[in-house]
Amino acid sequence: MPINLYIFLALALFSIGVIGVLTRRNAIIIFMCIELMLNSVNLLLVAFSKMHLADMLAKVPGAVNNGADAQLFVFFIMVVAAAEVTVGLAIIVMMYRNVHSVDVNFLNRLKN
């Protein structure tokens, strides 16, 4: 499959995530949209990894490790995203305990 299709898919997912973050009002849904952004990046990284591997194999037949660093990066993103979820959900729960709502519109009421 040509790389362009993967790029279109990843960018579409990423844009859905960005639009979701900017338009939705529920903290949990915003959070899901951020996760969608991160996962579209993962998809794109893996696609690029295969692309660079194919590029390099065409030039140097033995270079089977090319592109492995991108797949490594994917694991780091997953780990960091998990750490972020831990903290983020704790913050959302903390807010829910105090105001019994996860609506971010509530936040604007507190502005001064």
Binding site: I34, V41, M56, F73, V87, I91, M94, L110
Partner: protein, 458 residues
């Protein structure tokens, strides 16, 4: 390497200390001692004694520039602990954990100041950000603190997503995450990926340093967070991201031509304008300092705009001068009962030493000669003049510095020329002497800035 490993170990030590003892004084002294050790370890590395020999080639590169910045960050953190350790404890019941998180942030600072690979940049920024989300929300019953934590978290992870997309597109164009690989020429068909990736990376870094179009989260977060942690967020963290920023510019941006100057000059001018003009209208000193940190970020952006030797030196001076002054002002502000300008009325009569040192710090932030703030601003503007072209930006910056004098002097005016009873919590002699020492340092380095800069060239 010493800095990263020691601060991670010390963070874990601080966590375990809360199991062994519940005595707050012990925990506080332990944190101060560990921070001093961390500073000593990093200075040892500057003189060539590396405690841990780990092969980090291709991932981290320890230059004298990054190491000097680490020393500055640890030194200011040490002063911050000396001044505000009691206030850190009084935020909540988990005193030791707050110190542990601060040590983990310092590990992230050391990574960001010496990364050599975009993977490490990402990890460093996240190691800084995630503990900060917790610290921002550490005042659990306070709605403003909750609001700030949620806002900071959502904005922070959103900008992380943008940064990752940028890194990925750059990888797609170049086939490597190493900074050195970014200078190589691109397959022309993939140049668009590289440019858009770089733009996304620039946007996400602008988010982290609160540069103008992406600054809107800053005042709310700085205002809502517990004041002790605002002091840390506004100084060490912001300066560290700038050092990471300039490492990126070292390689990635020159390789892609001069078009960045225009984008950067617009961001710089907008940051200076919004920060300074909005700060005038604030009623709370804490919120004024939040906007002033945006304005100071505008000056630090000059280092990126006019990338040369002078601006690299200037950024080191700026991070030191700005951090010293801001930590000092915040240390006094935390002890105040009332955070508005009126709360400072007549402070000079009740606490003459604190009022005098705060005045010196404010003068330094405004960039009055004989203080460190003057030289750091001077280096930034001189660097831009040296590069030539776009002198309008320099004039605009000077104009903004003049505007900033107004709101900094409002505090001085309130302290000295207004009558009132400024109420504040009792302070001890150690607190006063630390502040006096910091003020003396601001003036000393304002006369001899080379005392710091000479360490760049060992």
């Amino acid at each position: 390497m010493n800095g990263i490993i020691l601060s991670a170990i010390f963070g874990v030590l601080m966590m375990f200390s809360s199991i062994l003892t519940s005595n707050k004084a012990t925990i506080r002294s332990l944190a101060i001692v560990l921070c001093a050790l961390l500073l000593a370890g990093n200075i040892a590395e500057q003189s060539g004694w590396v405690l841990f020999h780990v092969n980090t080639s291709g991932m981290l590169h320890f230059s004298s520039y990054g190491l000097l910045f680490n020393s500055i960050a640890y030194f200011v953190t040490l002063l911050y602990f000396l001044l505000s350790a009691r206030d850190i404890e009084s935020v909540g019941i988990n005193a030791a954990e707050y110190f542990a998180l601060l040590f983990f942030i310092l590990a992230g600072v050391a990574i960001v100041s010496s990364y050599d690979n975009l993977l490490m940049l990402f990890l460093g920024i996240e190691i800084i950000s995630i503990p900060l989300y917790i610290l921002t929300g550490s005042d659990k019953r306070n709605l403003k603190s909750n609001e700030a934590a949620l806002k900071y978290f959502l904005m922070g992870s959103f900008s992380t997503g943008i940064m990752l997309m940028g890194i990925t597109l750059m990888y797609g164009a170049k086939g490597t995450f190493a900074l050195s690989g970014l200078t190589e020429t691109v397959n022309p068909g993939r140049n668009a990926w590289y440019i858009s990736g770089l733009l996304l990376l620039l946007i996400s870094m602008a988010f982290k340093v609160s540069a103008a179009p992406f600054h809107f989260w800053t005042p709310d977060v700085y205002d809502g967070a517990p004041t002790v942690f605002t002091a840390f967020m506004a100084t060490m963290v912001k300066a560290a991201v700038f050092i990471g920023f300039i490492r990126l510019f070292d390689t990635a941006f020159p390789a892609s031509g001069q078009n960045w100057k225009l984008v950067l000059s617009v961001i710089t001018a907008a940051t200076l304008f919004i920060g300074n003009v909005t700060a005038i209208f604030q009623q709370s000193v804490k919120r004024m300092l939040a906007y002033s940190s945006i304005a100071q970020a505008g000056f630090m952006l000059f280092a990126l705009y006019s990338y040369n030797d002078l601006s690299k030196e200037g950024l080191i001076l700026y991070s030191l001068g700005y951090s010293l002054a801001t930590v000092g002002i915040f240390a006094v502000l935390i002890r105040m009962k009332d955070y508005t300008f009126e709360g400072f009325n007549g402070l000079a009569r009740t606490q003459p030493v604190l009022a005098a040192t705060t005045t010196i710090f404010l003068l330094s932030l405004a960039g009055i000669p004989l203080t460190l703030g003057f030289f750091s601003k001077y280096y930034m503007l001189a660097a831009a003049v040296k590069n030539g072209g776009n002198l309008w930006l320099v004039f605009f910056a000077i104009l903004c510095a003049v505007i900033s004098v107004y709101y900094y002097f409002r505090v001085i005016q309130a302290m000295y020329f207004k009558t009132g009873q400024a109420e504040m919590e009792p302070v001890n002699a150690g607190f006063r002497w630390t502040l006096v020492g910091m003020a003396a340092l601001v003036i000393l380095l304002g006369i001899f800035p080379n005392l710091v800069l000479q360490y760049l060239y060992f």
